[in-house]
């Protein structure tokens, strides 16, 4: 094992390549848990998952077990799921509702803002026992933007505003599509694990290069992927079959970066004027009634598609969902996919999205399963010590400014977004 001081870590990242150790080295993974997942703003959950007082969900930030809970006064708290008495995990369910959070071991109970509310058997308590000092630990920093709740496990660091930066408009792009201007993540979830490093999934969410190859089995003889969305007649053309190459329209797609490891890809318009079905037409009417026809058309002609909010979540704009990436070990990762319901849209529109996600992103889906296979094979291949470097040089030096979007732009089949992720990675990792 190498000594992982700052200079040594910097040597793992070069302009167009990354050393294999960043995917395979267990001590480096431990350092990532400390320096990235212990510091960065991480996506925790969505406000709609805890809509009523006492509603909670449990998850992990890195490997720290946390409870996201709605208090009586409406505030959302992110609490460490660890009893302050003898250390047991307080809440074992993935979600639920409780007036108090009660530990199974000795019955200590905590209010939904974390304060210690009850300690059974007062006889025997230390004379100087300070009940106020035994509340559940809070994530030091918590922030919310339009229902998306983030937390940082570090007291100090980049402010939430500075971290999220221009990615706000990517969230806006999605939330604005709901006629009532809000989203609900109440349609269950898809969960899967793969035997590979967490960054393999992070790198993949904005990767337009792999689609014709990784997903060859979902592209039909005409080079078209199956139709995906309510009201669409056919899917995207990704291959020109006669020339047996990636389609020109696919190659023209753009990707963007704007700091902190975040990025997004462009999309063809959601509504090209041809998209139509009873549910979709009703949705368009509902949106136009709320925001006016002109604004509705603007919302349905976005420039944003898949967005990565580094390091642990993405919002996907086509088959709309939130994706959360949770590292389990250097070679094991869990991913959760939450279908998004557009509040105020017709039920058939939302149910169309839920059904679509079964096909594209369940553990048994047609699309994501081939990505998982690629991640597993990458992890296996990266065992090879004779080829030390992973190449991420596509389009290096061809990046160009996009002044209108205040971002940097490249072709989506380039690897600019991956290079941006490693720049952010190094920013977290090189600081002791």
């Amino acid at each position: 094992m190498r000594n992982r001081n700052g200079g040594d870590i910097s040597s793992l990242i070069e302009p167009g390549r990354v050393h294999r150790d960043v995917y395979t080295d267990p001590p480096l993974f431990e350092l990532e848990m400390e320096r990235i997942f212990g510091r960065a703003w991480l996506y925790v959950g969505h406000a709609s998952q805890v809509s009523a007082p006492g509603d909670f969900i449990t998850t992990e930030l890195g490997r720290q077990p946390v409870i996201m809970v709605r208090h009586r006064d409406g505030t959302i708290h992110v609490l460490l799921n660890r009893c302050t008495h003898r250390g047991a995990k307080v809440i074992n369910e993935r979600k639920g509702n409780a007036p108090r959070l009660t530990c199974c071991y000795h019955g200590w109970s905590f209010d939904t803002d974390g304060r210690l509310a009850g300690v059974p058997v007062p006889e025997g308590r230390a004379a100087d026992f300070d009940q106020g000092a035994f509340g559940l630990a809070h994530a030091p920093r918590v922030a919310e933007y339009r229902g998306f709740v983030f937390a940082s496990l570090a007291e100090d660091g980049l402010s939430f505003e500075d971290h999220l930066g221009p990615m706000k408009r990517n969230i806006d792009d999605l939330v604005d599509r709901a006629p009532d201007g809000e989203l609900a993540l109440d349609a269950g979830m898809h969960r899967y694990v793969y035997a590979g490093n967490w960054k393999l999934q992070v790198e993949n969410v904005l990767d337009s290069y792999h689609v014709p190859f990784g997903h060859a089995s979902t592209v039909n003889r005409q080079g078209v992927q199956f139709a995906r969305r309510e009201g669409d007649r056919k899917g995207a053309t990704v291959v020109e079959t006669e020339k047996k190459q990636t389609a020109a329209s696919w190659k023209e797609r753009k990707s963007y970066i704007a700091g902190n490891g975040h990025g997004w890809t462009s999309n063809t318009a959601l509504d090209d004027g041809k998209r139509s079905s009873p549910a979709y037409d009703e949705y368009k009417r509902a949106l136009a009634e709320k925001v006016g026809a002109a604004r509705a058309q603007e919302i349905l002609t976005p420039r944003l598609h898949n967005s990565l909010i580094y390091p642990n979540m993405s919002i996907m704009g086509l088959n709309i969902h939130v994706r959360v990436i949770k590292p389990l070990a250097v070679d094991r990762t869990e991913v959760t996919i939450y279908p998004i319901r557009l509040v105020g849209a017709p039920a058939a529109m939302n149910s169309g999205n839920i059904r679509l996600l079964n096909v594209t992103h369940s553990a048994a889906s047609f699309v994501q399963t081939d990505d998982l296979e690629s991640f597993v094979r990458a992890q296996k291949g990266l065992r090879s010590r004779l080829t030390e470097w992973v190449d991420i040089s596509r389009g290096l030096g061809e990046e160009e400014p996009d002044r209108e979007l205040n971002a940097t732009r490249a072709l989506a089949t380039h690897e600019m977004v991956v290079r941006a992720q490693y720049k952010a990675w190094l920013g977290y990792m090189h600081q002791a």
Partner: protein, 159 residues
């Protein structure tokens, strides 16, 4: 025409065998034109329309799924899965010979081997069957895995 319990059970065994022998097109043909195949993602799931499911295929989606399973470059089936189903504890929950409609509950274990790894799926299945032109067809197959809400490694073949 009455249908005996043993005929219903033989139908289920035949269905499982088609899956184990990767005769997916013949398997699909067991489904009625309006047939659906559903594997919920949470226990006691009420509906496939308002909650995520592991599988919810109508005949159209089944066809797309099977075309993919036949594709030479389906990476997640390179190498392909081998499966063995064992089913039992069959109970005919309802039988209407006049309409030719039957509901059969069963318990199953499916062992899957692929790429040096073996794993086990287990749960209960409900088959809603209908006799059409003399032959039994599946109107709805619901598979409730005991671990349906856990995190899975990639799945490719129907259960």
């Amino acid at each position: 025409m009455s249908t005996t319990e043993s005929e219903l059970e033989r139908f289920l065994i035949h269905e499982a065998r088609l899956l184990d022998e990767r005769r997916f097109r013949e398997w699909m043909e067991l489904f009625a034109d309006d047939g659906t195949y559903w594997v919920p993602a949470v226990p006691d799931q009420n509906s496939p329309f308002d909650q995520a499911s592991l599988f919810y295929d109508d005949r159209d989606l089944m066809k797309t799924r099977i075309e993919r399973l036949e594709h030479p470059r389906i990476h997640v089936q390179t190498p392909p899965s081998r499966t063995a189903h064992l089913l039992g504890n069959t109970v005919v929950e309802s039988a209407d010979d006049a309409k030719g409609e039957y509901v059969v509950a069963s318990t199953f274990i499916m062992v899957e081997y692929r790429d040096e790894q073996q794993r086990i799926f287990a749960g209960r299945a409900h088959h809603h069957l209908r006799r059409e032109a003399g032959r039994l067809r599946i109107v709805r197959k619901r598979v409730d895995l005991i671990n349906c809400d856990s995190a899975f490694e990639a799945m490719a073949v129907p259960i």
